[in-house]
Amino acid sequence: MKVLMFTWEFPPLIAGGLGMACYGMVKAMLAQGIKVDLVLPTKEMVYFPLRKESDVDSLPVVFMDPVLQNDFSNRVFSDPVERLKYIGVSTSPESYHTIGDIKSFVSRVETEYLSHNDTNKEEYNLWQQITSNLEGDNDFILKVQEFTQRSERFAKELDYDLIHAHDWLTYPSGMLARKLSGKPLVVHIHATEFDRAGGPGNPQVHNIEHAGMTYADRVIAVSKYTAQMIVSRYKIDTAKVRIVHNAFTLEENRVFTRERLFKGPTILFLGRLTLQKGPDYYLDVAKMVLEKHPQATFIMAGTGDMARQLLRRSAKLGLKNRFLFTGFLNRQQVETILQASDIYMLPSVSEPFGISPLEAMAFGVTSIISKQSGVSEVVHNAYKVDYWDVQLMADTINNLIENPDKRITMGYRGMKEVNQIRWTEAADKIHKVYSEVLSQHTKSQE
């Protein structure tokens, strides 16, 4: 079984949970013998043929242009980083084509691919929904246009049984590949625009999400929470939706040590400082807890559009030197901060899954997680609270500070539990989804 997979993130090209989830899932899929041709927003026109487990780390590369491929294979790189730089693994693919090219692409989609007799009205409308919403000079939209334009070559020249696309940025590519190849499409919902925006969000993105899910043969949701949203907000047929919970990738030989920074109780928020993650609730909780336990330290780790507002408000609340901001943290620094924390808090307003608490739990950090999250469906040894219930969250933290034994026990149980959550299980489920669509596809071809 061979999959053409489109995703926007994959380590070392990470911007958040999506990359880590793709990594864990693909690795487990490879272990089951599924082959993956991975397409990322790279600077050069390349794909990554992943065949065995270790390929997720070594990332073998193939250039679409044979001349460039020749250059590449004759080149000697001093280290993997240099090699990735050469391919242009960057979050802003600068070398993308001019907008003129893209305009012609949009019209070509209409004239070349949709004029076929086999295009029905419904399908035509979905494509209209994509092309009309992929307009604008917003940086992100331009990148998606470019990514979609490039997917045409991958779709035509690579050999695969089905297509798997992760989140809206790659849905137009997945749709185009399905249209060109006639192969089934699976779309994976890691987050919807409702989650990201913490409100209605961008209607362009909604439309692209809706078209992608409607066009797909199967829709994979990362949680029940997300599946419900897909059905209720996007009106997607329940029969098409499958739930596959994320897992947490435990790197082998990793040692989970504890190393304090603060002598007093240390509470951590780790995530983007944006409405979706509920950092403002965390601040309110800190205010309440510090009144009772002034020796506690609250750390706010991450950056985001609310950073300034949160900083100013923490000053206004007079939280002294007990509410600290770290700014952006790299992987190593994330580990350092987890090692130093006693309590982890995820007060997300809407969290499709939320992999970060699993990592915190792996470090034995006692976790308090929002009920409005997918992760709360899979873990038991964590405190689950409504994101708006500031009083309960504060009471829980106070209680844990006052009863360190209780906190340590919960942390230990959480650590053991997280070790049982493996990607293998997720890969099994995805495998089943693939088999379903393939057999359905074979039937329809007969």
């Binding site: 920074l261 002598k263 330290t297 300034r308 100013r312 923490s314 030197n321 700014g327």
Partner: protein, 398 residues
């Protein structure tokens, strides 16, 4: 007779490193030694050394008729010793001429006068000892950090003992119809007061090279002409004091050598001393030259020489500044109680007013000045590093 009183402020803070949360509890140096060394060496080259040389020449040339006063903070002296000992040596040379008065202030250029009375008195005494040790002089004139003054600060300075004169800003809302050219008394009439003539001071300090200023360029002739006009109003032969107070870094640093600031200063005394009714004086000479009953002035609220408002809003206005300074003084009293000299010294370096100035979010003209002086990208960054430093300091005590 109009006496021109030049007083120059010499100050360098110990700037903080970009203290990260992850560094806390690791006993790392809180201060950015590299940056502090760089700034000190740069300012020494551009300002301190050439200006000291010029002043020395002028003092020599006019044989005691040209006088200036300095206030040099403890943090500046410490950094001279670390990074530019020749600068300290050249200041000592100036003091030895007898034409240079040294002025007392808080050792750490702090806002302790507003927050911690005992610490204020401690820092004043530390500075007085430093002036004696380094320059062999006993200070009798006082200036508080950034010329911040209110009645109760006058009381503290009097209580400290040995000071008979205090310098502050000639704020319009205090002076009203009065002129800053006369010597005044504080509200208890136990200290002489000299008030900065901010218009002419700032013409040199801020506007000298400003091409948008209608009076640009500022020539010695023009400046002397303005000064002469000031003397016309006085009909009773009372001695006037034109108090030109500014940062010493004005010369060569805020106003680069290319602006002609050094030429201005070189020729200015010539024109002054050509005129029998003009001269130079040091602040401590007020007591002998004030040939009239000095009116007393009341300062119910603090004034300063900063920004348009000339109040303390440059340091304690927004929430970040307030949280930072309140946290600092609460923590400092605990640090002091440890009697750990190393910790206390570290903590005192955090009391320097500049740390709070960097957190100022005022915009327009004043914001620009703040930005020019700040080693950080934004007030928010300055606040984050400062609060992290306080968290680290507290961990060191536990």
């Amino acid at each position: 007779m109009l006496n021109i009183v030049f007083y120059f402020q010499v100050h360098q803070p110990f700037r903080l490193r970009h203290v990260n949360v992850l560094d806390i509890g690791k006993d790392l140096d809180l201060f950015d030694d590299k940056l502090n060394a760089e700034v000190m060496r740069k300012v020494a080259q551009k300002c301190y050394l050439p200006t000291n040389k010029l002043l020395l020449e002028l003092i020599d040339k006019y044989e005691g008729k040209f006088k200036v006063a300095f206030s040099i903070t403890g943090t500046a002296i410490e950094q001279f010793k670390l990074y530019s000992p020749e600068t300290l040596e050249s200041f000592k040379q100036l003091v030895r001429t007898g034409c240079v008065e040294m002025i007392g202030e808080t050792y750490y250029h702090s806002l302790a006068a507003l927050y911690d009375t005992n610490e204020f008195l401690d820092q004043v005494m530390m500075h007085r000892r430093l002036m004696m040790d380094e320059f062999g002089v006993h200070t009798t004139t006082f200036r508080n950090t950034e010329l911040i003054y209110k009645d109760t600060i006058g009381d503290l300075v009097f209580e400290a003992g040995g000071f008979d004169t205090i310098l502050t800003e000639g704020v319009d809302r205090i002076l009203q119809w009065r002129s800053p050219l006369y010597a005044y008394k504080n509200y208890r009439k136990n200290l002489n007061m000299l008030l900065k003539y901010y218009k002419l001071s700032d013409d040199i300090a801020f506007r000298f090279s400003n091409r948008d200023w209608p009076d640009y360029p500022l020539t010695v002739d023009k400046f002397i002409h303005w000064i002469e006009q000031l003397t016309l109003a006085e009909q009773k032969e009372r001695n006037l004091f034109l108090n030109l107070f500014m940062d010493y870094e004005t010369f060569g640093e805020h106003q680069w050598a290319e602006t002609g600031i050094f030429d201005f200063m070189r020729h200015f005394p010539d024109e002054v001393l050509k005129r029998p009714h003009l001269g130079f004086a040091n602040p401590s000479q007020v007591r002998q030259w004030a040939n009239y009953q000095q009116e007393s002035l009341t300062f119910p609220e603090p004034v300063s020489w900063a920004d348009e408002q000339r109040d303390i809003s440059a340091w304690v206005e927004n929430d970040m500044q307030k949280n930072a300074i309140n946290t600092y003084y609460e923590l400092f009293s605990k640090v002091k109680a440890t009697h750990n000299e190393e910790l206390i010294c570290m903590a005192r370096r955090l009391s320097t007013s500049d740390h709070f100035y960097y957190m100022c979010t005022k915009y327009f003209q004043d914001g620009d000045v703040h930005k020019y002086f700040s080693p950080y990208d934004s007030p928010d960054q300055a606040y984050i590093y400062y609060i992290n430093a306080l968290a680290d300091l507290e961990e060191r005590m536990l």
